[in-house]
Every structure is written in C-alpha cells, then in structure tokens.
C-alpha cells in the first residue's frame, strides 16, 4: 500500500504537462462550481430571507382565507387583530407582529381619467414598512408617508401612471363586501425594490387600508417576525396550540406556497449545476487518465504477473486521480473564492427575467454571490468527486490488463 502511494505520487511527475492539464481541468471545474454555488447561496441568503420577511415568518389568517388565498378574499378577514397581535407578541421568539391588508387596486393621476393600471396595495403599521420591508432604505425619491392620506409608490407603478413625489393619485379598490372604494392620496415617496414586479406595489397606512377595505380594527392577516427566520416552523407549531390562535390558520413562511417548494427547487438547481460541472470535468480527467493507462499497459501487466490484484490496480489509479484532484481542487477553490469575492462586490445582472418573478419572490435584478466555508468545502469535495468520476473507467480499464500482457508488451 505504501508503495502504491509512492508509485502514484511519482507517476504524477512522469508526464508533467499532462498532470498539469488534468489538475487545471479539475481546478477550473472546482472554481466554476465554487462561483455557481456561491451564486445559489446569494439567492438563498438575500432573496429567501427577504421573502420570508415579506411573507411573515409566521402568518395568522382565517382558515377560509388560507384555502382561497390566491384570490386574496377580503371577506375572509380577521375582524379583530388586537388579541392576535397580543398573543403572538407574548411568545419569547417573536420580535414583533403586524396586521396587514393586501388588495388589488387600479390607480391613476387625479388629473387623468380612471386608469387601468393595476398595483398591489398594502396596508400595515409604519413599523412593518421600516423594520421588516426596509422601505425607508429603498426610497428613490421623497420621504416615508407621515399622514393618513399619503402613499408610497413603487417606481414602476409611478412611471406607469406618470406620478412623482407630490402628485395626487386616485386609487380604486373594493371593500370586503365588493363595493367600490376610492381613495385620493398624495405621493410622499417612490420606492425601488430592484425589480419591476416588486415596484408595482404601493403602501398606505393601516388606517387607510382598513377604511378602504371596510375592515375596522381588523386585517386580512397578521404577520409575525421571529428571532431566527430559519426556525419559523418550530415557532409556528408552538403558536398553533395557543388558545387565542387555535381557530386560525397559523403557518410558517416555508410551510406555505410558494416557499414550501423553494428549498427543494434550490436543492435541485444546486445538484443539477454541480452534476453537470462534475460530469464535464470528469470527462476531461477521463481523457488524460485513459492515456496514462494505455501507456502503462506493460508495467501494470508486470505488477499483475507479480501478484497485484485487480482491485489494487483500481486503487492505484484512484490514488493518482485523487492526488491530482487534491492539487487542482485547492487551486480551483482559491480561484473560485477570488471570483466569487469579486463578483460579490460587483454583482451579477440577472436581467429582465428576474422581473418576471412574482412579487412574493423578491429576486433582485442584481445578484450578489455569497461565499461561505460550506461552499469552499463542497467545492473541494466535488473536485475530488470529479477525479473519482473521471478515473472510474480508466481504472476499470487498467484492472482488465492481464498479466500475460507483460510478456507480450514491448516498449
């Protein structure tokens, strides 16, 4: 065994250019993988955290509302949110709880005819807008609303209807029983959330939304922020058994559509990307390893003649492949880390595609890869896997070499 390792390591030096080429293949594969995994990570860490916040780490709605939530049925509301907010706030893991009303509206400038421009209207306490959505940090013009007849417009919607800071807009919504609910509001500020879909929303005060929907003292949902958004499920489970909440639908963000599937989807994306890179790099390794095997037919035959077992032949080539991949992998991880760090500063423009995502999935058009220790380790290990994949066929080919080949083979 020691001698096998010695041989494997020395074999690396036999054809330096080929060894370097193989190592480089693995290095590039690993680097690519490191960057790709960092990107997926970036999406997860930024998008998902934000999405979880927007959706409410834990959400309380009427059972009937939960059943038909695609339609956002205002009629299936929570008539009195105060006891719900109190019950949620009493939980030690809950940081804050906010009533929230979401409804579709059309809007236009006061001076224009009633427009056909749609937007998603939100009504919630100011603290929700600043502490959870960080709208104050996303202002592109104007200021946060301070009065009940003021509104914050997403930039895309503002452009659609030609509104600016100071404009007066007319919004048309519906009350919970379906009557028209017009509102005349002054634009306090414009918000840029990074994609057109997200920028087709608008935010009014809790009171204004309650008035428009005609849900005095209530809301369509109550959203709770918890200490660690990844632990939302456990908190939701505990809250479900709370006496004051037991008649409602209480669920964590990742138990609800569309987030309940997002973890699996991201996992699949990661696996597919990793699989493709490992496969392609493996092919490169396979190519050069096969050349080594063919070149060494004679000496493998000799060792077989002297009693080397087939499985030891396989081991020999795997040791070689893993040694090369170890070197290449280290280089690749370093290269990939550098790449991911630079891209993390500059950002990657995802283009208009990101804007086609629904507002519930707030993917920004510019993505920032997130490099973590986990990515580095995964990248390196998958680099080794590339070598194992690539060495598999050559090693099996080598193990087929018969001892009699030693006699026949001429150098």
């Amino acid at each position: 065994m020691e001698l096998l390792v010695t041989m494997a390591v020395r074999n690396l030096g036999r054809n330096r250019r080929r060894t370097a080429l193989t190592a480089l293949t693995v290095a590039l594969g690993t680097a690519l993988l490191t960057v790709a995994l960092s990107m997926v990570n970036g999406i997860v860490l930024t998008t998902l955290e934000k999405a979880a916040g927007q959706a409410g780490h834990v959400r309380v709605v009427d059972v009937e509302y939960a059943r038909r939530e695609q339609l956002m049925p205002l009629s299936e509301n929570l008539p009195d949110t105060a006891p719900i907010v109190a019950a949620l706030s009493a939980d030690p893991d809950v940081l804050a709880a906010f009533p929230h009303i979401a409804m579709g509206v059309t809007g236009c400038l006061e001076s224009a005819e009633i427009g056909e421009k749609f937007a998603l209207l939100h009504g919630a306490p100011t603290a929700y807008y600043t502490d959870v959505l960080h709208l104050d940090a996303s202002l592109s013009a104007g200021a946060m609303p301070t009065a009940e007849d003021e509104v914050l417009l997403g930039r895309a919607f503002a452009e659609d209807i030609g509104a600016g800071v100071g404009s007066t807009v007319i919004l048309l919504g519906q009350t919970q029983d379906g009557s028209p609910a017009p509102a005349r509001l002054r634009v306090a500020g414009l918000v840029d959330l990074g994609s057109r879909t997200q920028n087709r929303q608008l935010w009014v005060s809790m009171e204004k939304a309650r008035w428009m929907a005609d849900i005095e003292g209530g809301a369509t949902e109550v959203l709770a922020q918890v200490r660690d958004y990844r632990a939302s499920g456990a908190v939701a489970a505990r809250l479900r058994s709370h006496r004051a909440l037991s008649t409602y639908d209480v669920h964590a963000w990742d138990e609800r559509s569309p987030f309940d599937e997002i973890g699996g989807v991201l996992g699949t994306i990661k696996s597919v990307v990793a699989g493709i890179i490992v496969f392609i790099t493996g092919l490169g390794v396979l190519n050069t390893m096969l050349m080594s095997v063919l070149e060494r037919t004679g000496e493998i035959g000799v060792m077989r003649a002297f009693g080397l077992r087939r499985r030891d032949t396989i081991v020999l080539f795997f040791i070689e492949a893993i040694a090369i991949a170890g070197l290449g992998g280290l280089g690749g991880v370093a290269l990939g880390a550098a790449g991911a760090t630079i891209l993390g500063r500059v950002g990657i423009h995802l283009g208009e595609g990101a804007s086609k995502m629904p507002a519930t999935l707030p993917i920004n058009e510019t993505m920032y890869p997130q490099l973590t220790a986990e990515v580095l380790v995964t990248g390196f290990l998958l680099g080794l896997l590339m070598a194992v994949v690539g060495a598999l066929l050559p090693a099996i080919r080598a193990s087929r070499i018969q001892p009699v080949d030693a006699m026949r083979h001429r150098r």
Partner: protein, 226 residues
C-alpha cells in the same frame, strides 16, 4: 516436478481463423533444472512459458504447479500463487520506471506478502546481482545489463520455486547477455535455483543443461547436456 504441462493446447482466435500456438504438448520442469525452450520465432516458446508461469490459461489440457491443477484457482488465488512461487524475467526488463532498483525488488516481496526482514532481503538480492552501489537508481539511470540484473534480483528475492525468463538476453549485446547467463547459471549451481528460459540464439542454448526444442507449437526435441 515443480510444474508440468499435460496435453496442453493453446489457440488464439484471429478473425475467421484460429492460430494454433501450442498443439498439445507434454513437458515438465524439475527442481534445480536450468532449461531452455529453443525454437524459431513463432514456434510457441512465449506461449508455453506463459502457461507454465500461470500467466495464462490453456485452451485445453492441464497446467500442474506443485502437482496441482491450477484451473481450479480463481484469478486472485492464481495471482498469489505466482507472487510466491514464480519469479519472472522479461525480454525488455520491464522494471517499474518510477521506482528505484531497491523499490522494484521490494515491490515483489510486498506483492508476495513477504514482510519479514524485507530490507535485508532486498539488499542481499541486489548485492547478489552485483548492484550494491546502484540501489537508489531509477531504471532510466541504469544500463540495459544493469536493468536486467535488477530484474533478476526482483525475481530472485522472494525465493520462488522457479524463475521463468522469456528471451532474457534478446535485448542485450552479447557481452552483457553472456554475463546475465553466467549469473543465472551461477545461481542455479550455487543455490539450486530452478530456471526456465527461452531463446532462439544458439549461443544461449549452448549454456543450458537441458534444451527443449519447439517447432510450430510442438516439441521436436528434448536433450540434456553436460
């Protein structure tokens, strides 16, 4: 009898045809022999050595090693038998290029699972072939004659029942070839090591103590010399 071929036939398929390399031969080698398989190129010498050395299996007939039919052994078991009982020397030396002379010799011991006193055995084997001062050299730093001596040391070190050498001098000039033969003969006479080798060179045949003549896959002569 160390090893024996009984009615051994070996054919190779070549497309439509089958090449008959050995056409049913009977031959055995006893302990202490210094025997050569002689014959022109293509007469079946290498094929016969491969079969006796358990590197290959016959198409029909039996190969006996220590009186046992090796057909009953699986590939790994046969490998272990080879590792312990048979030493090989090849025409083109076939040393492992990345290992030093000493490591090449050591490899044979390790593959045979002989770990006791390994270092001393390796040294002794290389001293025996006159390469005391070349133990740390790689094959490409050695002459052809020196490489074949390392090969002899490698075959010898595990004290096999028989050493099989296919045209061991064919890749050497006559002077080096003779020196190698002298060394082999000396080991045979002094340590009673059994040698079976092949050649088509009359000079080499003259050094053997027994000459088995092959022609077209058949044995056409078997004579013992003084």
């Amino acid at each position: 009898m160390i090893c024996q071929l009984v009615g051994v036939k070996k054919t190779y398929p070549m497309g439509e045809l089958t090449v008959v390399a050995l056409n049913g031969i009977d031959v055995g080698v006893d302990e202490g022999e210094f025997t050569v398989f002689a014959g022109p190129s293509g007469s079946g010498k290498t094929t016969a050595l491969n079969l006796i050395g358990c590197l290959d299996r016959p198409t029909s007939g039996q190969v006996l090693l220590d009186g046992r039919d090796v057909a009953t052994l699986g590939d790994d078991a046969l490998g272990q038998v080879r590792a312990r009982r048979i030493g090989f020397i090849f025409q083109s030396f076939n040393l492992i290029p990345v290992l030093t002379a000493a490591e090449n010799v050591e490899l044979a011991l390790r593959l045979a699972g002989l770990d006791k006193g390994r270092k001393e055995k390796v040294e002794q084997a290389l001293v025996d072939v006159g390469l005391k001062d070349f133990m740390g050299r790689r094959p490409n730093q050695l002459s052809g004659g020196q490489q074949q001596r390392v090969a002899i040391a490698r075959a010898l070190v595990k004290k096999p029942a028989i050493i099989i050498a296919d045209e061991p001098t064919a890749n050497l000039d006559s002077q080096n070839g003779e020196a190698i033969l002298d060394l082999m003969r000396q080991m045979n006479e002094r340590d009673r090591i059994t040698f079976l080798f092949s050649t088509h060179d009359p000079m080499v045949m003259a050094r053997a103590r027994r000459v088995v003549r092959l022609k077209d896959g058949a044995i056409v002569g078997d004579e013992r010399l003084a």
